[in-house]
């Protein structure tokens, strides 16, 4: 019987009574049953040994004869002793048991089916499950009982309120607040939750990727149209204080070698956004914290400066303590805000239009003052940030550190059409006509703000913003430009349907002005915006007219569809537009992926989001952000920063996730990484890599082999083998110490060194030599002294590289980057179709061990007495996973036939370049070692091999600065 059939049969027999047969050890009993008609009587007669009176009419001879024949025949068949008699009691008992079992089987139906389900097909009727009268009368009683039982169960389950009650606005908000106790929601959460796969990360619920299939569509949006991302989860810290004090304090976290710092002239004036990598105080080049972007408030007469630092939430727990120590901000400032003050406790949910409008049909008197309702609402909101002090002050330096996370929202627009989307969605605020009617409570800040200077500024900002419409791509504006603006309520100018904004050819602005904007950029006055002022932000958030109110007013307009004129009630929202540069480095696709960021005061998220979406922007999630940075060729935090604490945490989590996924498959259905020669397919052992390369260099130095005589392969391999033991010892030592916390390696961020390495990576002759590179950096054969010097200075350094595959193949993460043999390169020169060498299959020595262990375990498991032994066995295999190297890894560099210098962080087929591309980290020592041996026209060629493949593929390595 096949498996499925067997299971079905078993299921069927499960509810059957087990002891149908009454075993008397007498086969004759059962066989007698099929004896025709009077079998039982006959048996009774013969077993009883009594001559029945009823048989008399028959001819005795024939009957006797027949009887004899039968008995003979049966004897022959059963070949057992035929009982001469039976006892009536046992026989009756046996029958009784049978009858009982039969009755039980009939009365007891399958437990998981209802009565009407057990009916034969021809007796079934529609709606039998709900209507008892559809069931045959004899079964009605049972069915009724079943129905009642089911309804009772249902009632017990749903103790909650009715759906209508649950969906009531207030209850819904309470429920939402309960659900975001652990992970905060962004203002656009509900919009995203309907369309995206949501993930819980860094204390937020974030949209990972859209549920629709849109990989290409999102790419196209980035290249040709506009992609919109909600980056409100980014943290913002505000530092206020004297300029000198701030710069002095922050200088301890930065280093001039890595490029511009907080003191850069262009950024200090406030007209540009800067970005840099922070280090722990005076720890450079070790212990980096992570990348941040910063923005100075444009200078005014007053002494105090304001600085915003924007960073990823994964960085928050490391950065804030560092900043506090650097600024000597000790005591937290208790924000003296009374409880009903709505500004601090505005929730993220309150502004959602969908939940508010759905099911909130409560009748409300029009006379109710708006303020009262809003306050009521606000009190219900969550007040989580108030528990943690979000403000610190220093007595000595006077610096105030304030956490503005979720106070200011940040949306990112990527793509060439972001200009037209922005200029369609946002309308610069109309001027305040009624200066003197300040008794109006709403929008109190705007009339005050409208003095002569500010009006002049507003007009200039407005003109500049109009000019943006005439610029076809954000790549034509200098990177990091900041433009302040005050705009009208975007809900008033919302189109009725989703449209796609395209550049309007008839409304092209003056060419000369556009040219001036692109060349001279934006002057620092125009980057000022009232959004910097806390009071204004609060006022704007508070004075927002609710969606419901707005819709009601829209309904009451005389001409449907015309623009609503709110007069003085209309809110004016200060925003900040920040230019994001696209691809800056490399030769191809320059300016790809540039766009604008909008900063909006909180509470207005949904209004702006819908307005942008209705102009044809496509929404993207975390995955799209990752792809954007990958095509742009920049590192993404925290994925690509394994030297930062946040990056280490990330890679640890990633390893766990990948390992779980790997273990879910049976060994025969997953790659055997040992056979593929991939030592660490889930977590790149950077520490071991840099240590091994340091050792290789040391050994070479000791040997003092001249550069020319050094063979390409034997030196590192043999040395690798020599040192593999050393490394193992070292690893063991470190384990003994038990200090795996801080990384002993770092990523090279010294720009001069990077530029030098970048120049060396380019081929100096042949096809690619035309690539422009600064003339000052020598592009000739690498002077061995300089290379040695660099690698000696940075023995444990890694460097970010971009790899673009020459031919087929798309690299995946954790792929190996190896040095090609001279033979490989010769093959490539000779045969243009040569894809790359193959790694011979490795042998899996652990397979046998695992098998043995399994056998032992099996042997020990059935007996309960061997349990102790079994536990002893199970400890070992927890480390041994079939197909993976167990913990003390072998030497990484010399494990395969080609010498490994690094690993790929992220790779994929790049739609911009049309070939496989990857971002990888390689050891500086290894890279320089490789470059010093390669001939000038084939410089920078490496081999890339995916962890689940034996095929090496050629790739060109580039260090982009």
């Amino acid at each position: 019987m096949s498996g499925a059939k067997g299971r079905k049969y078993e299921k069927k027999m499960k509810h059957q009574p087990t002891s149908v047969t009454f075993h008397t050890g007498d086969p004759g009993v059962s066989s007698s049953k099929n004896y025709n008609g009077a079998g039982a009587q006959q048996q009774e007669r013969k077993y009883g040994g009594i001559q029945p009176q009823r048989d008399q009419p028959w001819t005795p001879s024939s009957s006797f004869k027949h009887y004899h024949e039968q008995s003979h025949y049966r004897d022959g068949q059963t070949s057992q002793g035929f009982p001469k008699y039976i006892t009536a009691t046992t026989f009756a008992q046996a029958r009784a048991a049978e009858v009982k079992a039969m009755l039980k089987a009939v009365s007891n139906k399958n437990s998981n089916s209802q009565v009407f389900q057990a009916l034969p097909k021809h007796m079934r009727r529609r709606a039998m499950s709900s209507n008892v009268k559809r069931i045959p009368r004899r079964l009605r009683a049972i069915a009724k009982r079943e129905l009642e039982k089911a309804s009772q169960q249902k009632k017990e389950q749903s103790k909650n309120k009715s759906r209508k009650a649950r969906r009531r606005h207030g209850n819904l908000l309470l429920e939402f607040n309960r659900r975001q106790r652990k992970n905060l929601w962004l203002e656009t959460h509900i919009w995203h939750a309907k369309r995206f796969h949501m993930v819980k990360k860094w204390g937020y619920c974030l949209g990972d990727k859209p549920t629709s299939k849109c990989y290409r569509a999102c790419y196209r949006a980035m290249t040709k149209h506009c992609l919109l991302q909600d980056l409100s989860y980014y943290c913002c810290l505000e530092l206020t204080g004297g300029e000198n004090e701030l710069l002095k304090a922050l200088a301890r976290l930065t280093n001039r070698e890595t490029g511009l710092t907080f003191a850069a002239v262009g950024c200090l004036s406030g007209k540009k956004q800067g970005s840099l990598v922070l280090y722990k105080a005076e720890k450079y080049p070790l212990e980096p914290l992570g990348p941040v972007t910063f923005l100075w408030k444009p200078k005014k007469m007053s002494e105090d400066r304001q600085l915003w630092i924007w960073f990823h939430p994964a960085l928050k727990q490391d950065l804030i303590p560092q900043l506090k120590t650097v600024c000597q901000c000790g005591e937290p400032v208790v924000q003296s805000i009374p409880l009903p003050e709505p500004s601090t406790v505005v929730s993220t949910v309150e502004e959602m239009p969908e939940p508010v409008s759905v099911g909130s049909k409560r009748k409300r008197k029009d006379g109710t003052p708006l303020e009262e309702i809003t306050v009521k609402k606000f009190i219900r909101e969550k007040t989580s940030p108030t528990l943690i002090p979000a403000c610190w002050k220093s007595q000595t330096t006077g610096i105030v550190l304030r956490d503005l996370t979720l106070e200011i929202l940040r949306y990112r627009l990527i793509g060439p059409l972001s200009h037209s989307v922005l200029s369609d969605a946002l309308y610069p605020a109309s001027l305040c006509k009624i200066f003197h009617s300040q008794h109006e409570k709403h929008c109190s800040w705007w009339p005050e703000y409208c003095n002569e200077d500010n009006l002049f500024l507003h007009e200039r900002q407005q003109n500049l913003f109009q000019l943006l419409r005439g610029i076809a791509s954000p790549a034509e504006i200098s990177a990091g430009t900041v433009l302040g603006l005050v705009v009208d309520d975007p809900r008033l100018t919302l189109p009725r349907k989703r449209t796609k904004s395209m550049p309007n050819l008839s409304m092209l602005p003056d060419f000369e002005k556009v040219r001036q904007l692109t060349v001279e950029g934006i002057t620092d006055e125009t980057s000022a915006s009232p959004i910097w002022d806390q009071a204004v932000r609060d006022d704007v958030t508070r004075s927002k007219i609710s969606e419901q109110e707005l819709n009601r007013m829209k309904m009451e307009i005389l001409v449907p569809g015309s623009r609503l004129d709110l007069g003085a009630k209309e809110s004016k929202i200060p925003i900040l537009l920040i230019h994001q540069s696209g691809k800056l480095t490399g030769q191809e696709c320059l300016g790809w992926g540039s766009g604008w960021d909008i900063l909006i005061p909180k509470g207005w998220g949904m209004a702006f989001w819908i307005s942008l979406i209705y102009r044809g922007a496509r929404a993207g999630g975390l995955q799209e952000g990752l792809k954007h940075s990958q095509h742009k060729g920049t590192a993404h935090f925290p994925d690509d920063f394994p030297d930062c604490a946040a990056g280490m945490r990330f890679s640890g989590e990633q390893k766990k996730e990948l390992l779980d996924k790997y273990k879910r498959r049976p060994p025969s259905k997953r790659p055997n990484y040992i056979k593929h020669g991939s030592v660490a397919p889930f977590l790149c052992p950077w520490q071991q890599l840099v240590e091994e390369w340091e050792m290789i260099l040391k050994i070479e130095d000791e040997r003092g082999v001249p550069e020319e005589c050094r063979g390409a392969l034997p030196a590192p391999e043999s040395s690798g083998e020599q040192m593999s033991k050393g490394v193992k010892v070292k690893c063991a030592d470190e384990e003994m110490k038990g200090s795996p916390g801080a990384a002993d390696f770092s990523i090279l961020r010294n720009r001069t060194v990077l530029k030098q390495i970048s120049a060396w990576c380019l081929p100096t002759s042949g096809k690619g030599k035309r690539a422009n590179c600064p003339a000052s950096f020598s592009r000739q054969q690498i002077p061995s002294g300089a290379a040695l010097l660099i690698s000696a200075h940075n023995p444990r350094c890694l460097v970010w590289t971009r790899l673009s595959l020459l031919k087929k193949g798309s690299p995946t993460s954790h792929a190996l980057i190896c040095i090609p043999d001279p033979g490989d390169i010769q093959m490539l020169c000779a045969d243009l179709t040569f894809c790359g060498p193959q790694e011979p299959k490795h042998k899996d020595h652990f397979k046998k061990k695992i098998k043995e262990l399994k056998k032992k375990k099996l042997a020990s498991s059935p007996g309960a007495s061997c349990k102790v032994q079994g536990i002893g066995c199970s400890e070992l295999p927890s480390k041994l996973i079939s197909g993976l190297w167990p913990e003390p890894l072998p030497s990484i560099t010399s494990h395969c036939t080609r010498v490994t210098i690094g690993f790929v962080l992220r790779g994929d087929f790049s739609l911009t370049a049309g070939c496989g591309e990857a971002l990888g980290l390689v050891s500086v020592a290894g890279l320089l070692h490789m470059l010093s041996q390669q001939s000038s026209d084939r410089k920078g060629l490496v081999l890339v091999r995916n962890p689940a493949s034996l095929q090496y593929r050629f790739a060109r390595i580039m260090v982009e600065v």
Binding site: R256, T261, V265, A472, S473, L590, A775, V961
Partner: protein, 141 residues
């Protein structure tokens, strides 16, 4: 896009003979200004295959939608634009005619500071461009 090697760097803020100090600045070239494009405009670049660009032009002409097409080339791509136009002319056996215009395109370079105390600079540099109109001989008459 085409690389621009010949154009002499002309500083906007400083004297023309000013030389960039690589220790202070990094040169970043911006893309040339993108203008609205009609369907019969073809921008020639150096990355796409020559033959592909030629067939694209040929198809546009053969489609019958347009009586003329415009081929634009900038900098290094000027000679390729000329080549394509001449090829089209030669392949048509006198049916197509060409007329060329040259122009100068202003390109913008950013000089990004490497050290804190210098201001970012924007330079304007000129490069030559060619615009070739290829049209059917009959349509002109």
């Amino acid at each position: 896009m085409a690389e621009n090697r010949g154009g002499s760097a002309q500083s906007l803020h400083l004297k023309p003979e000013w030389e960039m100090d690589p220790a202070e600045y990094t040169l970043r070239k911006r893309l040339p200004r993108k203008l609205p494009k009609r369907r019969n405009d073809i921008y020639i670049n150096m990355k796409t295959n020559f033959r592909t660009q030629l067939t694209r032009c040929q198809k546009l002409l053969d489609s019958g939608q347009f009586t003329d097409i415009c081929i634009h080339g900038l900098g290094l791509a000027v000679h390729r634009a000329i080549n394509i136009a001449l090829q089209l002319h030669a392949n048509s056996f006198g049916e197509l005619q060409i007329s060329a215009n040259t122009s100068t395109v202003e390109l913008v370079d950013d000089l990004e500071p490497e050290v804190d105390h210098v201001e970012p600079i924007t330079q304007i540099r000129s490069n030559s461009a060619i615009h070739i109109r290829v049209f059917h001989a009959a349509s002109k008459a």
